[in-house]
């Protein structure tokens, strides 16, 4: 069984992001980039399935600029067998990525696509769901437990107020939540071996996909600063302020 894992190169979670002065986006020049943490969980899960003898091959895919190769090498250092880079300088939106992944799924025929539930840069939380629709495959999002056997996957997912367990037939798309697993640290020998694993580069045009953005970003701004609160003397004053100042009563 083959597993396909899409991985995205994002601003490292430790970096305090800054909005560009012209409001056109977030400043990514000179900023540390790494693999989206949810995708790291996805790679870890796929590698564990391979180690358990369930999967036979784990293919990591990244869509974006040439530097995404580093992200693929990280995935291969964790244990993915090979990587595919869909290289483009276009700013990719979820639908474009989902179409690229569809083209790769048609070609690679994986039984499961395990992806992060969202990327920490735009928090879109759309790509997995769109891919599932484009492929006509079942989806199980926000997985906190995954068991795969004989053409089926049993997925426990995190929902408001508890856990829900679904059984889906394969092929399918599974998206990972934070508690699915704790990704391992890549070992030094595996980091070195990752350099020798195959990494194929294709262009969106090779896959017949038009990745032109469909959405326009109008403005990016910092969240408004919270102003300091005031202590009220008693309930009467609180009610008075809510009525006359905040005008919510």
């Amino acid at each position: 069984m083959k597993i396909l894992v899409p991985v995205k190169r994002v601003v490292d979670y430790n970096v305090k992001v800054r909005v560009k002065s012209d409001g056109s986006g977030v400043d990514t020049a000179n900023v540390k980039m790494s693999m989206n943490p949810f995708d790291e969980i996805a790679v870890e899960e796929a590698v564990r399935l391979k180690e358990a003898g369930v999967a036979t091959e784990v293919v990591a895919v990244s869509c974006g600029v040439g530097a995404c190769q580093e992200t693929l090498r990280t995935a291969m250092a964790i244990g993915a067998d090979r990587g595919i880079l869909v290289e483009t300088d276009v700013d990719l939106q979820p639908l474009a990525v989902a179409k690229l992944l569809k083209a790769l799924c048609d070609k690679e025929q994986p039984q499961v696509v395990i992806c992060g539930k969202q990327a920490i840069d735009d928090d879109a939380n759309q790509t997995g769901q769109m891919l599932s629709a484009l492929m006509g495959w079942p989806q199980a999002t926000f997985a906190s437990k995954v068991a795969v056997s004989a053409g089926k996957a049993t997925v426990t997912r995190e929902i408001d107020g508890g856990l829900e367990t679904l059984e889906i037939s394969l092929p399918a798309v599974v998206s990972t939540d934070l508690r699915l697993n704790e990704p391992r640290y890549a070992t030094l020998p595996n980091i070195m071996k990752a350099k020798k694993k195959p990494l194929e580069t294709v262009k969106p045009a090779d896959l017949g996909v038009d990745v032109t953005p469909r959405l326009t970003t109008i403005k990016v701004a910092e969240p408004a600063k919270r102003s300091a609160g005031v202590m009220v003397a008693d309930v009467a004053q609180l009610v008075e302020k809510l009525k006359n100042e905040a005008k919510v009563l």
Partner: protein, 596 residues
């Protein structure tokens, strides 16, 4: 609290532009290494240092180690972190592939080791001591000893120690008294007391392999009668399994000023008839064997200076960005702003940053010399690099560790009153840094080596060659037509003149007036550090000036500003050191003993 973030970009810059990484990855034996692999290694190591090692540092400081009847328990989390450290292969990284290491160039392992040292000196010491012992056994031990001990030490399953110091034998190892009596079966019975044994006892590994300096019954007195032995905590059976407990025990652990996370043990050998030990190499050559590891060990402690300085800087910078205090002089807005805007806080941070980067520059440059001295196909290049390496090793050790004192001191100062409060964490770096000018040879021992064996005794040839190289950089900068680079070159020129004059004075006076020469030895070491640091910062600025239009132009802009700061504020110290060396010995030696 801040979190350590490995300065991968600056590390790669120093590796590529100063150590010569491109050339090094092309040397024979480095076929598996490429520069993008190096970046991947640094990224992963940086992640491990931030997420696993850095959080241990404060816990180790607060809890320390617990001693109970010979058993030492490490602080919470150390055992687990060490296990992961070994599983991921970081422990054995610098060791040769023959014993399970990765055999990477010293330049690469130097950057990775700096990260462990930044994150926690205490934690990093266990690996450092183990690898030092590995090196000694690999170079001088028999095949049988190598096969028995090395694979498990490289993997980290067993750790190693260095048992040199005794209560009466500190810097003067000739005074060692520990004894080794032949037991008739090829092994020896070792007895004696050793002190200051870093990671001498702990609960992180199943066995501890002690390297011990001791005297054979017929040994001549002094340094020529010291032999090197392996004495494992648990004896190793023929099949490799662990056997009986050896007759050696951790008698106590020390109460220290810093590095509380690592146990510093008093080791007692042979209380019940003698600890079983195995001779490494030939009898009476122990000290000589120890010295073959000295370049590495001293480079590594110098690197501790760089590491702890970097960490202290990051911590102070994070605070300076957040702490809002007072209006800024000359700022018309009249707003209260983070203290980073105050000119004197900037001065302190620039001082910390520029000295740290200069320290990293020297340490990595010397690591590059080590790689070329070891692997370059041309014998002349090997020899030239070996000379440069030997000349600068005491400078890396002495200067980077001395610098760390002022840097970590400023790290406290930036915090103001909160720096004096342990909770902020700034003080720990200062306390931890305090040992590094002392162990592995005090600054005076380094300076003694620099003025004697490395300079005066060879007529200053290596130093003159170095000065010629520095002058060449100065000329190139002057010819560049760039005003900033020219200004740096002017300052560097003063530094060159000061070091040249001091060197000539030293050569003229070393034999005739050894006390006067020794009185100026530490100033001479610091003078050398400043000029070499200034040289490498100048070279960095020259590279950066070419890249200001690159996408990451801000990094290079900062590089030039940092080099300019170093040229304006640090290089001028060279003159006062020169004056102290050339004309200041008399007052050092003037007082009769009774007048102190």
């Amino acid at each position: 609290m801040s979190t350590y973030v490995a300065p991968v970009k600056d590390m790669l810059f120093a590796m590529n532009e100063l150590a010569g990484l491109q050339e090094i990855v092309g040397l024979p034996g480095n076929e598996d290494v490429s520069s993008d692999l190096v970046e991947a290694i640094l990224d992963e190591a940086g992640k491990f240092a931030s997420e696993v090692v850095d959080p241990l540092n404060k816990v180790g400081d607060k809890q320390g180690n617990k001693w109970n009847n010979g058993v030492v328990t490490t602080a919470d989390g150390f055992k687990e972190a060490y296990a992961t450290f070994c599983e991921t292969g970081w422990n054995g990284m610098p060791a040769s592939t023959e014993f399970g290491g990765q055999g990477l160039p010293v330049t690469v392992s130097t950057a990775v080791l700096e990260m462990w040292k930044s994150a926690s000196i205490s934690f990093s010491l266990c690996q450092m001591l183990t690898l030092g012992a590995v090196e000694a056994i690999a170079h001088h031990g028999s095949d049988e000893l190598k096969a028995t001990f090395l694979p498990n030490m490289v993997s980290g399953k067993w750790t190693g120690t260095m048992n040199l110091t005794e209560p009466q034998a500190g810097s003067d190892l000739a005074a060692i008294r520990s004894k080794a009596e032949p037991r008739g079966d090829g092994s020896y019975a070792i007895s004696g007391t050793k002190i200051f044994i870093t990671w001498g006892e702990h609960d992180m590994a199943e066995n501890i392999i002690h390297l011990v300096l001791a005297r054979l019954p017929d040994a001549p007195p002094g340094v020529k009668g010291i032999s090197l032995f392996i004495a494992p905590k648990f004896l190793v059976n023929a099949d490799g399994s662990l056997g009986e407990r050896n007759d050696l025990i951790c008698a106590s652990i020390e109460h220290k000023m810093g590095i509380h996370g690592s146990a510093t043990a008093v080791m007692s050998f042979g209380d019940n008839g003698g600890a079983i030990g195995y001779l490494v190499g030939e009898p009476n050559r122990g000290l000589e064997y120890m010295f073959t590891m000295m370049n590495h060990a001293r480079l590594n402690v110098g690197l501790e200076g760089v590491g702890v300085s970097e960490r202290s800087y990051q911590h102070a910078l994070a605070y300076a960005r957040e702490r809002i205090q007072g209006k800024i002089i000359g700022d018309k807005s009249g707003e209260k702003k983070p203290i980073l805007h105050h000119p004197d806080v900037r001065r302190m941070l620039m001082d910390m940053k520029s000295r740290t980067e200069a320290g990293r520059a020297i340490a990595y440059y010397v690591a590059g010399c080590m790689d070329r001295a070891h692997s370059h196909p041309d014998a002349d290049v090997r020899a030239a690099n070996q000379r440069r390496l030997e000349l600068l090793t005491p400078v890396v050790k002495g200067w980077c560790t001395e610098n760390a004192q002022g840097i970590t001191w400023n790290g406290v100062q930036v915090h103001g009153g909160m720096g004096f409060i342990e909770e902020t964490g700034a003080a720990q770096y200062m306390r931890d840094a305090r040992i590094i000018t002392i162990y592995e040879g005090t600054t005076a021992i380094q300076a003694n080596d620099l003025i004697g064996r490395k300079t005066a005794k060879e007529g200053g040839k290596s130093m003159q060659q170095l000065l010629a190289d520095i002058a060449e950089t100065g000329s190139a900068l002057r010819a560049s037509g760039n005003a900033q680079l020219k200004a740096i070159a002017e300052a560097l020129g003063d530094g060159i003149a000061a070091l040249d004059e001091a060197t000539n004075w030293l050569i003229a006076n070393y034999d005739a007036n050894p006390q006067a020469a020794a009185a100026g030895s530490v100033p001479f070491l610091k003078l050398t550090g400043i000029v070499v640091g200034g040289w490498l910062m100048a070279r960095s600025a020259a590279v950066a000036a070419e890249r200001l239009d690159a996408a990451d132009g801000d990094f290079y802009k900062a590089k030039i500003a940092t080099a300019s700061y170093f040229a304006q504020h640090v290089i001028p110290e060279a003159n006062s050191y020169r004056d102290a060396i050339v004309g200041g010995a008399e007052s050092v030696l003037a007082l009769e003993e009774a007048l102190f």
